[in-house]
């Protein structure tokens, strides 16, 4: 049994935030005596990620994703709990650790703005002490995979957002880190650029065996890349497992879509429905019904008997709808 690449045990981060009341008097009072609120940004989170996995860390804004990433990249000390990444305790921030990880953010740049990317890459190569033969080989590979030969000599400020993100990925992978943290890598990118980046990440992961922990608000990213997701909300871990199984666990209903036969096409006619079944959409002779997961088989059988059904499908609700429900309600 191998040791997981990332282990997190009972991780909590509590921020003490001064309470600020409105008004002048209250603010003067707070100068003398401050009252604090404890904000639990991360609360008793545990998980383990094996080498080579791609895991999506999802949750609504303010759920604790960024705090978790900051702890794992060594920027924050947790209040309690343990974490080990690539054999290191992140918040000791040893250089040997920082050479093993990379953090690519959709909204922050590693590149030096006014000079061509190639120059930034050279500086990063030096900062990460990459031997020159390995530097050249890695760079060639990445440039080839990302198809970006022509970008190398233009100043970074003249590049488009998508081109810059390619540069960020090269910058983050030049020194061959074993763990990669991706924070909203497709932020603001057009659909085809998103697609190409996803393809690149999947391929790079397959070739190099890098472990990837990714946060994204685009479910398409997560669906395309992450067989496994970790869902956190209000700092707590709500779900850790296959993305597909998330719907089963979090959404206790299925969607039944029926197309009625031609002779029953009249919309006005009352349709007899079993108890507990709800129509979510109705368009001519197309009906979408929301049925409890457990009742789905019996309800479909009833529907097939009582209605002139031309076509019938039973589906899980779309993942976006499930996630939305979890975000809004904080779990089911």
């Amino acid at each position: 049994m191998t040791v997981p690449q990332i282990t997190v045990q009972g991780l909590s981060k509590i921020y003490r935030v001064p309470v600020r009341a409105e008004g002048l008097r209250a603010s003067l009072k707070s100068l003398i005596k401050r009252t604090y609120n404890d904000v639990h940004a991360v609360l008793d989170v545990s998980f383990a990620i094996e080498s080579g996995e791609i895991v999506g860390l999802i949750g609504p804004n303010g759920a604790g994703k960024t705090t978790t990433l900051k702890i794992l990249t060594g920027l924050l000390h947790p209040t309690t709990g343990l974490a080990r990444v690539a054999g290191f305790i992140p918040w000791q921030r040893k250089h040997a650790y920082l050479r093993q990880i990379s953090m690519v953010m959709g909204n922050k740049s590693q590149m030096i703005w006014d000079i061509p990317p190639m120059d930034s890459f050279r500086v990063l190569g030096e900062i990460y002490s990459v031997p020159s033969s390995q530097f050249k080989q890695t760079l060639d590979e990445l440039i080839d995979l990302l198809d970006m030969q022509e970008l190398l000599t233009k100043p970074v400020r003249n590049l488009s957002l998508g081109e810059r993100m390619k540069c960020e990925l090269v910058a983050g992978l030049l020194y061959r880190p074993v763990v990669m943290f991706l924070d909203e890598p497709t932020l603001g990118l057009d659909v085809s650029m998103q697609l190409r980046l996803r393809r690149f990440l999947a391929e790079y992961n397959r070739k190099s065996g890098v472990t990837i922990l990714l946060t994204s608000h685009y479910m398409a990213d997560v669906m395309a890349l992450c067989p496994r997701v970790i869902l956190i909300h209000h700092g707590k871990l709500l779900y850790d497992g296959e993305l597909g199984a998330l719907a089963q666990k979090m959404a206790p209903f299925k969607l039944v879509r029926i197309t009625l036969g031609a002779e029953n096409g009249s919309v006005s006619r009352e349709i007899p429905l079993p108890a507990g079944v709800e129509i979510t959409q109705r368009e001519n002779n197309l009906l979408t019904l929301r049925v409890g997961r457990a009742e789905a088989p019996s309800v479909t059988a009833q529907l097939l008997q009582s209605l002139p059904v031309a076509d019938l499908t039973v589906e899980d609700p779309p993942i976006e709808a499930v996630i939305d429900q979890v975000y809004m309600e904080g779990g089911v």
Binding site: Y15, T67, G74, L75, R93, K108, I112, Y128, S129
Partner: protein, 274 residues
């Protein structure tokens, strides 16, 4: 615990630091004209006082300095002021405030090198602008200066120490950004004190009694005025030795404060986040 130069346990990263300096320089050169305008701004104040004092001196001497000696003093001061001015101290607070410190902290290189590389890049770009102007002014205004080999020899360490003192004094003040969001007000205060007490308004020897005593004791004279006085021959041997002692003492304190606030600042940063 992390030291400012190595930023984590283990070795420093000089190779990475030097590469950063080169790249920063390359990117600064792209904005030559912008930095020339800044350098021009910094030159104006000493130029005004040069004109004030040379006019006041006329054909006489004030405090032992004649017209030509005032010209020499202020022309040297323009260069020394530019070399020791640490504009990069102003950007440290921004790094913390706008969360760019995070990007620097996840690299195996102390963020200190980022500041140092801008510092060094800046010096070169500013000198490209300042040197020719000072030369032209020297041709027009005819300074009088008798540089002895000893003065010249003492000037070099005095200048280097002045730069280090001004830089690290500003650096520890700037590090207060970890606690207070607008720590740069303290940098503005430092600039004012340098203006008053470091020999810009007037050579320190010409300041009235109490102010002169303050100037000699406080660190600010040793950031600008002291090396200028050394080169222009205004300091005798005991004064020179005393000057170096005080200058070094303040520098040691600045280094200690920088190291302490860096350590405490990072501890706080990793507790509350950026």
């Amino acid at each position: 615990m992390n030291s400012i130069f190595t930023h984590s346990r283990g070795h420093g990263n000089l190779r990475g630091g030097m590469a950063l300096v080169k790249a920063t320089w390359a990117s600064w050169v792209q904005y030559r004209s912008f930095f020339f305008i800044l350098a021009f701004g910094w030159m104006i104040q000493p130029l005004i006082y040069l004109l004030v004092w040379t006019t006041a001196a006329g054909g006489k001497t004030i405090g032992g300095l004649n017209r030509g000696e005032f010209v020499a003093y202020y022309l040297v001061l323009i260069l020394v002021n530019q070399i020791t001015y640490s504009q990069t101290n102003w950007t440290i607070g921004d790094l913390v405030r706008y969360g760019q410190m995070n990007r620097l902290l996840i690299r195996p290189l102390s963020p200190f090198y980022d500041t140092l590389s801008s510092e060094m890049a800046g010096k070169v770009v500013y000198m490209i602008f300042d040197l020719p102007i000072v030369l032209v002014l020297a041709l027009i205004l005819r300074p009088e200066m008798y540089v002895t080999p000893i003065n010249l020899l003492a000037f070099i360490p005095a200048l280097l120490l002045a730069w280090a003192l001004r830089f690290f004094w500003g650096y520890w003040l700037a590090l207060l950004a970890f606690w207070a969001t607008r720590a740069d007000a303290l940098l503005a205060l430092q600039d004012s004190l340098v203006f008053l007490l470091a020999g810009q308004v007037a050579p320190v020897a010409l300041l009235p009694g109490a102010l002169r005593t303050a100037a000699v004791i406080l660190p600010f004279r040793y950031m600008v005025g002291f090396p200028v006085e050394v080169l222009t021959g205004q300091v005798n041997t005991p004064g020179l030795i005393m000057g170096f002692v005080i200058q070094t003492g303040w520098l040691v304190l600045a280094l200690v404060l920088t190291a302490v606030f860096w350590r405490l600042g990072l501890r706080r940063y990793s507790a509350v986040g950026g």
